[in-house]
């Protein structure tokens, strides 16, 4: 077994155990945020890593899941029917969004996802009679916190399984080829649009479910917290900030970002966006420095005289 796989298993086991042990109080909330953020980051990593698409609106699916679940609960359904209905509703909306987005690439995709996030935020603020407006939606407790934690832990495992299976399947290879050159991929017969849709939907569904579980645990969601740019950036950063192969990168990223977020919230109140900003600038600059370093290494390797 490779070292990063063993390390991932250790972190996951620790997360699973702590989710069962700590279901109440501040530690319970922190562990739950870790699991939800890990689900978001790993689901984000599916298109992020294989297609190289940077989404600034991954939280759209999270918010959709939460609101669909909340609306289903407020019409009188119990937890499981509401959860299933929310997944179906979110699936339909997520598919529509994904079908729209699949034609876009690179910076335009990022821009459009940010636009979609703001559209949903404003739309759910305006539809006051259904969504509760800017104050948000409050629901009664439908299942115990412990059950919520266990379901979230299961969702994380399923998301990791999806990540691993997708990256090892032929669709994963197709998506890598699509990222390298869409035209070349089409020439050799890869259905690039289908690959993108499949990849984006594999990322969207776990995010929707995470949203529903988040609402079930915390009983409240608002347009600002559901369709949150900060949540999208957390997922983006967590999947990028630690350059390690497999799911270890996003897992370590989530541990680092969520802990940093908690410290910032408690110690540097009012500067949480600024800290996120600093990490974003650092991550982007690292990308530039890393490219130059790799370029220098390959130039040295190609030119024996430069050794």
């Amino acid at each position: 077994m490779k070292w990063h796989t063993s390390f991932s298993i250790i972190i996951l086991t620790a997360l699973m155990l702590s989710s069962a042990v700590f279901s109440k109080g501040y530690v319970g909330i922190f562990v739950f945020s870790l699991i939800i953020n890990a689900t978001m980051a790993i689901s984000y990593d599916i298109p992020g890593r294989s297609l190289g698409l940077i989404s600034l609106g991954h939280a759209v699916f999270f918010g959709l899941g939460a609101y669909c679940f909340g609306i289903a609960i407020s019409i009188g359904l119990s937890f499981f029917p509401a959860f299933i209905l929310s997944v179906i509703l979110s699936f339909v909306v997520a598919l529509t969004v994904t079908l729209l987005m699949a034609g876009l690439n690179h910076g335009y995709y990022s821009l459009a996802t940010l636009g979609i996030l703001i559209i949903f935020q404003r739309l759910f603020e305006t539809l006051e009679s259904i969504t509760g407006g800017s104050a948000g939606l409050y629901i009664p407790e439908t299942i115990s916190k412990l059950h919520c934690h266990l379901l979230a832990a299961c969702l994380l495992l399923v998301t990791i399984a999806c990540h691993v299976f997708f990256s090892r399947s032929r669709w994963g290879l197709y998506s890598k080829e699509t990222e390298a050159s869409e035209e070349a991929a089409e020439t050799i017969g890869i259905p690039t649009r289908t690959v993108k849709i499949l990849c984006l939907m594999t990322a969207a569904i776990p995010a929707c479910m995470a949203g529903a579980l988040h609402l079930a645990r915390n009983s409240h969601v608002s347009p600002a917290s559901g369709f949150s740019l900060t949540l999208s950036i957390t997922a983006l950063l967590a999947s990028r900030v630690v350059p390690v192969k497999g799911i270890l990168g996003p897992l370590l990223g989530v541990l680092f970002i969520t802990t940093a977020e908690e410290v910032i919230w408690t110690k540097f109140e009012g500067f949480n966006h600024a800290w996120f900003g600093l990490i974003l600038v650092g991550a982007a600059l690292y990308q530039g420095i890393d490219f130059k370093r790799r370029n220098r290494i390959s130039t040295t390797a190609e030119n024996p005289l430069s050794r």
Binding site: G52, I54, L56, L100, M101, G103, L104, N105, H106, G107, Y108, Y109, S110, L111, A112, L114, G115, I116, I118, I119, R122, L123, E125, T126, E182, E183, I233, L236, G270, F271, N272, H273, A274, F276, G277, L278, I279, L280, V281, G282, A283, A284, L285, Q287, G288, I289, F291, K292, N295
Partner: protein
């Protein structure tokens, strides 16, 4: 003016600068703070702010453009997008810390004048005239000066321009400086007419991006016309629906436009 600056930054450097609107907010805050010391008129402050924003543009170039110059277009755009989003978030928190949540307004009372029976608000007319003059001067700068011509050459073909002896680093730094000045001036004009929230920078940037995408990257005329069209759309959406739904309409149009054009599909 915001869109014209953004268009310059993207056309010449391939930078989608999400901190552009925050620079406008910064200019508005600086103007408001300066009013405590001396009652500057917007146009006097524009002249004073120009060198400050030029310097700020050079500094910003070192963070969001220069490190990604050698990356491929797609990777470079994404990296600059992430870095500029980071800068925007940092600036927003600093604005709230410095200024508080109170909207920034530098509105000044100005007489309304009559033109053939039409009542025209003086301040709006002067600011419109100044915006037209600024865009005109920028166009002249791009067309008639050596640096402006180098910028246009770089926007058309980076490699060929470099082969002809144009220094891409210095030229893009100049473009970033010009784009930042335009953002600063836009912020001063905007806050003279409407209150501007300390966290409105990203909203302003996105609207400007809509104008740039619709009007075409790297030119000045297209964004200026698209800006006018967006203004009309916002006004009509406010009348037809509710005032709060104007953003939804504008962003929906942005997404629909991007999807219909399938932007970026072939790079």
């Amino acid at each position: 003016m915001l869109a014209v600056g953004l268009s310059l930054a993207f056309g010449i450097m391939g930078v989608l600068n999400l901190a552009h609107g925050s620079l406008a907010v910064l200019a508005a805050i600086l103007y408001k703070k300066s009013l405590v010391f001396y009652p500057f008129s917007p146009w006097t402050f524009c002249v004073l702010a120009t060198p400050v924003f030029l310097g700020l543009g050079f500094f910003l170039h070192l963070i969001i453009a220069a490190p990604f110059r050698k990356l491929s277009l797609s990777t470079g755009v994404v990296a600059s997008l992430i870095a500029s989003l980071g800068v925007a978030l940092i600036l927003e928190d600093l604005f709230v810390w410095w200024q508080g949540w109170e909207p920034i307004s530098t509105y000044i009372i100005f007489p309304t004048f009559n033109l053939m029976g039409l009542k025209i608000p003086g301040l709006r007319a002067i600011l419109l005239g100044m915006a037209v003059v600024t865009i005109g001067l920028s166009t002249l700068f791009l067309k008639k000066t050596d640096l402006g011509r180098s910028m246009r050459a770089l926007a058309q073909d980076r490699e060929t321009a470099s082969l002809c002896g144009i220094n891409p680093g210095v030229t893009s730094m100049g473009a970033m400086g010009l784009a930042t000045i335009l953002a600063g001036l836009a912020g001063i004009f905007y806050s003279s007419l409407y209150p501007l929230g300390p966290r409105e920078g990203l909203d302003l940037t996105l609207k400007a991006l809509f104008i740039v995408v619709a009007g075409g990257m790297g030119n000045l005329r297209g964004p200026a016309i698209a800006g006018l069209v967006l203004g009309f759309i916002e006004s009509f959406a406010g009348v037809l629906f509710t005032y709060t739904s104007t953003d939804t309409v504008v962003y929906s149009l942005l997404v629909v436009y991007l999807v219909l054009k399938r932007c970026g599909r072939r790079q």
